[in-house]
């Protein structure tokens, strides 16, 4: 049942995307209407630019800005490799200490 629901959802999403040009038209009408109501004097090019920016931002992804949180997040993701490196370093240092002490 879950598989059937998943497939239906995907098809609905896909069919929705077939109406992407309609969505663009609706968005344009809405922006024009809003601008008229607020008394803004916007041009066709400005509206097109706004629509393009909207579609550009939808479904896009960007990593958080670098900082302490970002560093900690990366350390967590690479914890396995970091642990391995620490173990290797400890072994080397221990070996050196054992040989020269």
């Amino acid at each position: 049942m879950d598989v059937a629901r998943e497939m239906r959802d995907q098809r609905e999403t896909a069919e929705e995307m077939f109406r992407r040009d309609d969505l663009r038209t609706q968005l344009r009408d809405k922006l024009v209407r809003t601008a008229r109501m607020s008394g803004d004097n916007v041009t066709e090019e400005e509206i097109e630019l706004a629509i393009e920016q909207f579609f550009e931002s939808v479904h896009s992804y960007q990593d958080p800005q670098p900082g302490m949180k970002s560093l900690l997040a990366h350390c967590w993701v690479w914890r396995g490799r970091l642990a391995l490196a620490a173990a290797a370093l400890t072994t080397v240092l221990g070996g050196l200490w054992f040989m020269f002490s």
Binding site: Q10, R11, T13, A14, E15, M17, F18, R19, R20, D21, F55, V58, H59, S60, Y61, Q62, D63, P64, K69, A73, H74, W76, V77, W78
Partner: protein
Amino acid sequence: MTIPGPTVHQQLMDAYKRLTEQLEQDRKSMHDVQEQYEKLDAERDDALRSLAQHYLPELTADAINSTWREVRSDISTLLLQKEDEDRSLQQKLKQLQENRTTTEKALLQATNVLDSAILEQNKVSAVVEKRLQEDTQFVELADRAAIAELALERAESNLHEIDQDAARKLPAYQASTLFQYLYERGYGQKEYRSRGLTRRIDRWLARYIDFTKARQGYDFLKQTPDQMRKIIAEDRRSLNIVMEELERKRDRVADEMGLPEKISLTDRLTRDRQQILQTANFVSESMNEVEDRINDLSDPRGSYYQQAIEIFRQTLVGFKSSDLKKRAEATKDDLTDDQIVARLSGVESDRGDLQEATRDRRNLQKQKQHVIEELGRVIQRFRAAHFDSVRSHFLDTLSIDEELAYTEDAEDARKLWQKIRRSQRWGDHESEDDAGGSSLKQVLVNAMGKAAGDERGDDARRAGARRLEYDSNSDARSAVRDDTGGSSSDHAG
């Protein structure tokens, strides 16, 4: 005041180099002579051709009868060949004209038949279309097909846009370490199994990068285009089914009205007409070629005339200018041939002058070559006698450049060596030991020179030197010690 040996040696070397360069320059300039020969030969050929054209102004029987006896037979043969070819071409042209008439008639007929067949086919097509338009089911299917086609075009346009969107945005997801970590662990899905601290930190990470929203975007960009492609393919299949149904209906009506037969007839007639048209074009091109050739033959100065002139020119090549002049003078009323022969004589005279000048230049070059060779030998002797040593000096009356200016042949060059030897003096005893060979003998030469005083010193030295040579020839042991093989022969010379 004396000139040092190295200076004289350098003067000799410079003179040798200068003479060699002059000779090389002379040889290079001989290429220009070849060009002059070619130019004169071309002028001669041109004059002979003009003379041939004058004596044979056109290729006709009358002109041949009044031209030179020597070429009459060959040119008559050429005229007969021309007339034969003309006759043959006339027959071929006649045949081609008949072919063209036949082909044009066939083409006209084929065009008429084809036009009738096309008209008939159009009539039947119109009836078929009318009957199909009257069929409500057909009209309904056609409407559905039109709507489906429009929807498909729109879907394909939207798919293209989504594809571009995915290609632009997916790399950011794939490059993110944090997102890929959670995605690969299946965070938020049933397959996610972590518990305790790991789960809590993963939850913090998911909130930090807003993983739920990012995953939705990623899934959308990954899956939607493929899903859209599948839907488009299904819709295309559905449209094809509708189209097949429409075609079946069309075929049924068309078969009833006999339209396929009409179409195949039209195709066959079109091919036939195309073939006839190709034949007509070929015949027309052949006729143009034959007509061009006939026009050339009818021209009394056409290609056959050019051949005749060439034959005439080759005959004239065998005649001497004097004979040609006599022939030209024989035609009292005609001055043109006299002018051409005069031009020819002028060219031949120029050629003779050029030949003579070339011969003289070659002889001069040979002489120069001999002088250079002899000068080379003088330099060899000069070095062998150690005259190029710093201890060797020459009287200031010796001028190499002046001597060479008067040198015309090898004999003069040989005399130069005698003059060099007579002008040569050794600077001191020690050096003469090396240069002359035996110190005792050199002592004799020097002592004789000094004893004789300034006036007769040179003669006394030469006498001593001759004695040196005599000793070297007679005394084998002395000859071995005395390394003056070159200078000995020089003395003899």
